[in-house]
């Protein structure tokens, strides 16, 4: 099968899976108890108020009519209006998404690079102290509970030592100052980004390091590594040019999917660091039955992950000529 037919087949698969996800999401949200209006414990909301709101939002329609509207709206690019923000969900997502990508995608890329590099090195020193300690460190990092370590870092680096701002994405005092220029504002955002970035980097690096290390350990048992050594290549050349590129394959899958999932942000990380990303919105939308916002966010994430899967498949064929579709 050539690349063209692979693309066609996978695109059809993606469409089918996406359709299933769309329907599943709709059913799940509507099966969940409570609707966005009746969930409000607000004594000023009378049952008549609730009925009126439910009718105005179209939530009193039979479920299949709601479903048809949902499908129609999706294909006409209308993702609806958030019940709580009163704004188009597309506007909210496009406002929050760049923040999430800035933090989480950067963290994933940096962590993958560091993890791959460290994994490659320490696999070469298997059984030595450096391997043992680095592996232990990676395991610890990988199992750290993110909100806990985030709070600890905030307390130590931001509160105690005072190197970083406590949370958020910008210092309001700088942003409301008319004299502050673009550079000062850009620096301010970077300054706010460092601590969450560092936290995510530390936690994520461990997993990439472990994947790369174990992949390297498998690869160095291969005959072509022995051949490379027999040819008289230096250890560094064997490691960097022969072992590492081949060991990269499993890491590519992991990094590819992590990059795709990074658009999901992280509800807990974003909450602890008050980072205005999509993860917090997702949690808010789900817990407050803000259907349009929640469903559009999930659909967006599903689409990115499905497309990332396809890209990883193509990348596989490119990285490993033995693989053909």
């Amino acid at each position: 099968m050539n690349l063209k037919s692979l693309l066609l087949r996978r695109s059809i698969e993606i469409l089918v899976v996406f359709g299933i996800i769309m329907t599943g999401l709709f059913l799940l949200f509507h099966a969940a108890p409570g609707d966005p209006i009746s969930m409000m414990v607000d004594l000023t909301m009378t049952p008549e108020d609730v009925e009126r709101m439910v009718a105005q939002l179209g939530l009193d329609q039979p479920i299949w009519i709601q479903y048809l509207y949902y499908i129609k709206n999706f294909f006409t690019g209308n993702f609806g209006t958030s019940f709580h923000y009163g704004r188009p969900v597309i506007e909210i997502i496009s406002e929050r998404l760049p923040n999430t990508i800035l933090l989480f995608t950067t963290a994933t890329i940096l962590a993958a690079m560091a993890g791959v590099w460290l994994g490659k090195i320490i696999a070469w020193y298997k059984g030595k102290a450096i391997d043992t300690w680095t592996t232990i460190f990676a395991l610890v990092c990988n199992t750290l509970f993110l909100p806990w370590i985030s709070l600890l870092f905030i307390w130590f680096f931001a509160y105690w030592v005072g190197w970083f701002p406590l949370s958020g994405m910008m210092t309001p005092e700088i942003w409301v100052n008319p004299e502050a220029g673009f550079f000062a504002k850009a620096v301010d955002v970077l300054h706010h980004m460092l601590l969450p970035l560092l936290t995510l980097f530390i936690v994520n690096t461990g997993s990439y390091l472990l994947i790369m290390r174990s992949s390297m350990l498998e690869t160095i048992k291969e005959d072509y590594i022995l051949t490379a050594r027999a040819k008289g290549l230096s250890e560094k050349q064997v490691r960097n040019r022969h072992a590492a590129p081949n060991a990269l394959l499993p890491v590519v899958t992991s990094v590819g999917l992590s990059l795709a999932f990074s658009v999901n942000g992280g509800a807990l990380t974003e909450t602890v660091f008050s980072w205005p990303g999509i993860g917090r919105e997702l949690i808010f939308a789900v817990s407050n039955s803000d259907y349009p916002l929640a469903m559009a966010s999930f659909l967006f994430i599903a689409l990115v992950v499905l497309v990332a899967n396809l890209i990883v498949d193509i990348l596989y064929a490119y990285l490993d000529p033995r693989i053909s579709y």
């Binding site: 108890p33 409570g34 009746s38 969930m39 414990v41 607000d42 004594l43 000023t44 909301m45 009378t46 049952p47 108020d49 609730v50 009925e51 009126r52 709101m53 105005q56 939002l57 709580h84 923000y85 009163g86 704004r87 406002e95 929050r96 923040n99 690079m113 590099w117 709070l151 905030i154 307390w155 509160y159 190197w163 701002p165 406590l166 949370s167 958020g168 994405m169 910008m170 210092t171 309001p172 005092e173 942003w175 409301v176 100052n177 502050a180 000062a184 620096v187 970077l190 300054h191 460092l194 040019r241 590492a244 590129p245 990269l248 602890v272 660091f273 205005p276 039955s289 490119y318 990285l319």
Partner: protein
């Protein structure tokens, strides 16, 4: 191979980027030094969702809105009586025409135009035309609103309604100039109410002490002093109003932990959020922070489904009330930062609170509670194979209770919100379950998601007992009627227990029309007596509002019921730097 080399190139770029980041970090550290003494910095736990007054339902949105839009009357911080705010004086009531006449004080909108009676008429008409949820029920009995002149407005009521003064007149007034075009456009849409609620008002025109200057969504809100604020320099309720801070910055902290750190680090002057008691000790050690403990108008309670036996039996409910040790809950679960509740109306609401109520089990030891509850149940036909109190008068482990018809009582559940939503209520469920088991009552606490919980209790009436709470009850106790009037015993209605008592209904109906506050006070107090005799709800506790401020830059916070986060504080706090 190529890809791998590309990665190597990435490494080099990463090192360069790291240097750049480090440089930025140093520069940012330097630029953080500037501070404006006249900016009041307030921390919030979450960002407001909207500043559209008709849509806003979350507490944070309403906090910001309360500084922009203003009502005709507000509550005096000392007495909790009505105090004229946008109004010049107290309203004049004419029983003949069932009308109230209100005189407006000289006041302007933030664009410099006059606040007139036409704005008031427009606001009322808009609420009624669109039947705006939350507001409509408070205005629907107002038959007609007329602007007598530019500064005088008269409200004609369809029938006498006591809540008109204490609930209706404390609602916000919006400017006609800004909202009329929005309302006109909304009326042409398929769903006018939704169109109104979703209308985006970039710069809301207000009559309050501050106006919105900038809202950087996801990051902060910047409010600046409203130069046209009617209260500037005048005295209301014996308080000379400012505001004194030039601007307010609302900063968002996702968790209370970080908010408290921000306070200690002097990044904010006030964290507008009721914090957990666990922070108090730490904050009190810090010489720059001050903790305020305030009474709240809140109610946390256990409710019964009185539609089904044995919960329909008042004796059973009284026995359950007797065995519940509220003081234990307050001391152990809430670390002492709550007030015991023996009525549905908080005792801090002095004017309406009824003091002479049965205090089931108060002051008794655990054994004495069991004995008293046992006696109550025995007298009403409940039996046991092994009673909780044996013939020698000792408390023993009982067998399952037998109902008056001789059947053993079925297992039942105490529904509570989950621990991550409210650990106190979830813990109370478990503790109460154990106390009830001391009487052989087979209870089991069951935390469930809040949505599912409400649906079962409020919409489907499919429950036995539950523990819920209202964090901010209105000061007017009309909620008694909502909770217990039989007319509200319907799916989605607020009489979730299904309580029905003709005497209570009569008192409640009378209280609605009692225009004389003293007569209404008497009725409201009687209503509390009736309810607490029947105990469809067991009031448990009223948690304290625990708030903290940084004292370095601003002083003069006004403490009233529900805390220091109120319009009086915002109008009164002064910069300490200005004093120097």
């Amino acid at each position: 191979m190529k890809v791998f080399f590309l990665f190597s190139d990435f490494y080099r770029k990463t090192i360069a980027a790291s240097f750049l980041l480090a440089l930025c970090f140093v520069l940012a550290s330097c630029s953080n030094g500037e501070k404006d003494g006249a900016i009041l910095r307030i921390g919030m736990i979450e960002e407001p969702r909207t500043l559209n007054i008709w849509l806003a339902s979350d507490a944070n949105s309403r906090k910001v809105i309360s500084l922009i839009y203003q009502p005709l009357y507000t509550y005096d911080p000392d007495t909790l009586d009505l105090a004229p705010w946008l109004a010049q004086s107290m309203p004049e009531y004419d029983p003949e025409t069932i009308s109230y006449t209100v005189q407006l004080r000289p006041a302007k909108w933030s664009d410099g135009t006059e606040v007139t009676a036409h704005d008031v008429v427009f606001t009322v008409d808009l609420i009624k035309d669109f039947q705006v949820p939350r507001y409509y029920s408070q205005w629907q009995f107002v038959k007609k609103t007329v602007a007598i002149d530019e500064k005088t407005v008269r409200f004609y009521l369809a029938e006498p309604r006591a809540i008109f003064l204490t609930r209706t007149l404390v609602n916000y007034i919006v400017p006609k100039s800004q909202w009329a075009p929005i309302a006109e456009k909304a009326k042409t849409m398929a769903n006018p109410l939704i169109a109104l609620m979703n209308a985006r008002v970039e710069k809301p025109l207000g009559s309050g002490p501050y106006v919105l200057a900038q809202w950087r969504e996801g990051a902060f809100l910047h409010l600046v002093k409203n130069d046209h604020f009617f209260g500037s320099g005048i005295e209301i309720s014996n308080r000379k109003l400012g505001p004194h801070a030039d601007a307010i910055l609302f900063k968002i902290y996702g968790t209370a932990d970080v908010g408290v750190l921000a306070l200690k680090k002097d990044t904010i002057d006030f964290f507008w959020w009721s914090i957990q008691p666990g922070y108090i000790e730490d904050l009190e050690k810090d010489e720059n922070t001050k903790v305020y403990l305030s009474d709240r108008s809140a109610l946390y309670y256990m409710g019964f489904n009185v539609r089904k036996p044995p919960f329909s039996d008042p004796a059973f409910r009284r026995a359950a009330n007797t065995v519940i040790d509220k003081n234990f809950i307050i001391e152990r679960v809430l670390q002492g930062y709550a007030a015991r509740m023996d009525s549905i109306v908080p005792s801090e609401n002095l004017f309406w609170y009824e003091e002479h109520l049965p205090r089931y089990g108060q002051g008794l030891s655990r054994d004495d509670r069991i004995k008293k509850a046992h006696r109550l149940l025995s007298e009403n036909g409940y039996t046991w194979e092994t009673a909780p109190v044996n013939r020698s008068g000792e408390v023993v482990t009982p067998s399952r209770i037998l109902l008056p018809d001789g059947r053993p009582m079925d297992d039942f559940t105490i529904l509570t919100p989950p621990a991550d939503y409210d650990p106190a209520r979830a813990t109370c469920g478990v503790i109460i379950q154990e106390w009830l088991k001391d009487l052989g009552i087979p209870a089991s606490a069951r935390p469930m998601s809040f949505g599912a919980l409400l649906q079962r209790i409020k919409d489907r009436h499919d429950f036995d007992t539950f523990i819920l709470g209202y964090g901010q009850l209105a000061l007017d106790p009309d909620y008694l009627r909502s909770f217990f009037h039989s007319a509200n015993n319907r799916p989605g209605g607020w009489n979730m227990s299904g309580y029905s008592n003709p005497e209570f209904d009569r008192l409640a109906d009378e209280s609605v029309q009692a225009m004389d506050p003293r007569i209404r006070q008497e009725l409201i107090r009687k209503m509390q007596q009736v309810v607490m005799e029947d105990v469809p709800y067991i009031p448990l506790y009223n948690p304290a509002a625990i708030e903290a401020v940084g004292e370095k830059r601003f002083t003069g916070w006004e403490q009233m019921i529900d805390g220091i986060g109120n319009i009086w504080s915002i109008c009164r706090v002064k910069s300490t730097e200005a004093d120097m």
